[in-house]
Structures are given as structure tokens and as C-alpha cells.
């Protein structure tokens, strides 16, 4: 497992970044991927990876401008009580303008993506090269199952992937990535891992299970 540079930033802010956030009342209508703070100037890219919450939804910030009205770019809108199962799940409805806040700490990451590419991971990786993104496929980025036990040293993310008729088969999966969000083109990568055994998917209905074990 390679804990890439961006992943270390995410870990640092997630564990220790309990610092002041921001809040306000927006009057500019948000879009599907942007939020204008209206009257709050946030240092450029200082809240990347943090969560902006407004109305009944939240987004994971990918970048922010520094201006009288800082503009946040998010990966998408999420509903906390209905997290998207896969990259194919529709985003939550774009909220109306209104009260908002940016919470301390980075968003956690439990989305798992797959690739057939075997290229070795390096520290500066920000994407999973060749990630499978086939529309409607069963091998696209998915929310993994999280497990931990009190006082334990490890946490696992486990996902059983089931390929379907939309997948481009056969394919042999060689690596995975763990991401902060579900959007393949945007959400930031924490870990990139070469599997200890490749997974071959040949026919619709084939399954493969990946467990990413993280020692804290």
C-alpha cells in the first residue's frame, strides 16, 4: 500500500486538524460543483478536502479561491443519510442558497476504485491510472465496507465487486485506490495499492473481493 502525498495531507487534517472553520449565509445559488461564500474570504486552497455543509447536503471541497466572496469547488453534493453506493449513483440535489458552514478536519475516505494497470505507485500519484469507469458497470468506484474494533490497531475497507453486462470483460484487476469521494475525475486519492493477487473477471456475475487493511 502506498500512502500517497495527498493521502498524508488528508490523514493529518482528519486526525489533528481541529481548527476553526467558516460559516455564513450565502445569497448566490450554488451550482452542482461550486459554492460562493458571499462575504467570507478564505485563504486560497486552505480548506481543500474539508466538508461544506448547507441545507441537507454536503460537498467535499477540491479547491477554493481567495476573494471577498471565496468560491469553493466541490466534487459533488452528498446526502449524509444516503451516501452514493457507486460512481454511477446520482448526486444529491443541488441545494438552494442559505446558511452554510465548513467543518474542521478533512473528509474521511472509503471509496474504492479498481484498475487493470500494474504500474507501480509513486508518492506523487493523485489518480489511479486507468481506473475502471465503465458507465453502468459493476467494477466502478464503490463505497467499501468499513470495519474496526475498539482499541484495535487496524481498520479494514472491504468490497466485493460483482461485474455485470455493462463491464468491459474480460479484465484482470491489478490495483486499487482509496478515495475521499465518489467522483472519479475529482475526488482525491489517499492510498494506491497493488493487489497481492490479481482478480480476473470474465463473465457477468463474477465476483472478487478486496480488503485494504490500514494500520493506524
Amino acid at each position: 500500500m502506498t500512502r500517497v502525498a495527498v493521502g498524508r495531507d488528508i490523514e493529518s487534517d482528519s486526525l489533528l486538524g481541529f481548527v476553526a472553520g467558516y460559516r455564513g449565509t450565502a445569497t448566490t445559488a450554488p451550482t452542482a460543483t461550486t459554492f460562493t461564500t458571499d462575504g467570507v474570504n478564505i485563504p486560497v486552497n486552505s480548506v481543500v478536502g474539508r466538508i461544506i455543509s448547507t441545507g441537507t447536503v454536503f460537498g467535499v471541497i477540491q479547491s477554493n479561491t481567495s476573494a471577498a466572496n471565496s468560491v469553493l469547488t466541490i466534487d459533488r453534493w452528498y446526502a449524509a443519510d444516503a451516501l452514493p453506493a457507486t460512481a454511477g449513483t446520482a448526486a444529491a440535489t443541488t441545494p438552494a442558497a442559505g446558511t452554510w458552514q465548513i467543518l474542521p478536519g478533512n473528509a474521511p475516505g472509503a471509496y474504492m476504485g479498481l484498475t487493470a494497470t500494474a504500474t507501480a505507485a509513486v508518492d506523487g500519484d493523485t489518480a489511479l491510472t486507468g481506473e475502471i469507469t465503465t458507465s453502468g458497470g459493476g467494477l466502478i468506484r464503490s463505497l467499501a465496507t468499513y470495519a474496526h474494533t475498539a482499541a484495535g490497531t487496524t481498520t479494514t475497507l472491504t468490497k466485493t465487486f460483482t461485474c455485470n453486462g455493462s463491464d468491459s470483460l474480460p479484465v484482470t484487476v491489478a490495483q486499487i485506490g482509496i478515495f475521499q469521494g465518489v467522483v472519479a475525475a475529482a475526488s482525491r486519492m489517499i492510498f494506491r495499492t497493488v493487489l497481492n493477487a490479481t482478480m480476473a473477471f470474465s463473465l457477468s456475475g463474477d465476483q472478487g473481493q478486496v480488503t485494504e487493511t490500514v494500520t493506524l
Partner: protein, 139 residues
């Protein structure tokens, strides 16, 4: 990965039967009571537009009398975007990282998943796993 069910003791299993298939997916040992339920809901995994059968956000708590990593207490699992079959195999796979033995109880916000797991971990003449209510989980 500890073997959670000795193959010679599994429900209807022969000693040569695998505990994991070639994709390293744990083989559910639910040949009796919950087999049809798992089978029916597994078909939904082939429909990429059907999110209604997914257990996203389901919480599972499992007894862990013999922890593998020096931890204490039960294992807490939060299911991702998974069907019943996928979720069951993910919980079983997850527990393998934390446990050297089988749980004596399981609780879940999904009664179907709890039933499947309890049956999987109940091996005649070897172990019993019961479903308990979430409110009964020891603090």
C-alpha cells in the same frame, strides 16, 4: 487470514470444499434457512440501476471473543454500497482481519443481514451464533 469455519464442520461442506472462491470471496455457509433469500437478492447485483436493494449505511456489530490484534470488544462494521450477498461476504472478510474465532452473537440494523451472518457462523456441533437486538449489544 484465519479460517473462520473449519471446512470439515461447515453446513453440508466436504473437507475439500473451499472457504473462498477463486475471486477470494468468502463462500457463504447458508445452505439452509437463508439460502433462498441471499440468492434472490444477489440477482439485484446484476442490475446497475437498482440501488434499492443495497444495504448502504447498514451497521453490523459482531462478538469477537478471540481478537487477532489485541483489540477489545466487538467489531463494528458499516456496510458500503453492497447487496445482501456482497455485504455478507464483506462482513465475513472483514471479521477475518480481527478475529481468530467465530462470533457468538451478531446484531445489525438489517435483520436479513443479521440472519444470514448468524446462520453462516452457526456450525452444527461446533459453534452457535445468535441474532441479538442492537439495544442488547454490550457497551
Amino acid at each position: 487470514m484465519p479460517r473462520l469455519i473449519p471446512p470439515e464442520l461447515g453446513n453440508g461442506k466436504r473437507p475439500s470444499d473451499p472457504l473462498r472462491d477463486r475471486g477470494s470471496v468468502p463462500v457463504l455457509d447458508v445452505s439452509d434457512r437463508t439460502h433462498e433469500l441471499v440468492g434472490a437478492l444477489h440477482d439485484a447485483a446484476l442490475d446497475p440501476d437498482d440501488d434499492t436493494s443495497l444495504l448502504t449505511g447498514t451497521v453490523v456489530m459482531l462478538d469477537n471473543p478471540n481478537p487477532a490484534d489485541g483489540s477489545a470488544g466487538h467489531v463494528i462494521v458499516r456496510v458500503g454500497g453492497s447487496t445482501l450477498h456482497e455485504a455478507a461476504t464483506e462482513v465475513i472478510g472483514s471479521l477475518g482481519a480481527f478475529a481468530l474465532g467465530m462470533p457468538e452473537w451478531v446484531a445489525s440494523t438489517s435483520s436479513e443481514l443479521a440472519d444470514v451472518l448468524a446462520e453462516h457462523y452457526t456450525v452444527k456441533g461446533y459453534s452457535t451464533c445468535k441474532v441479538i437486538d442492537m439495544s442488547e449489544v454490550p457497551a
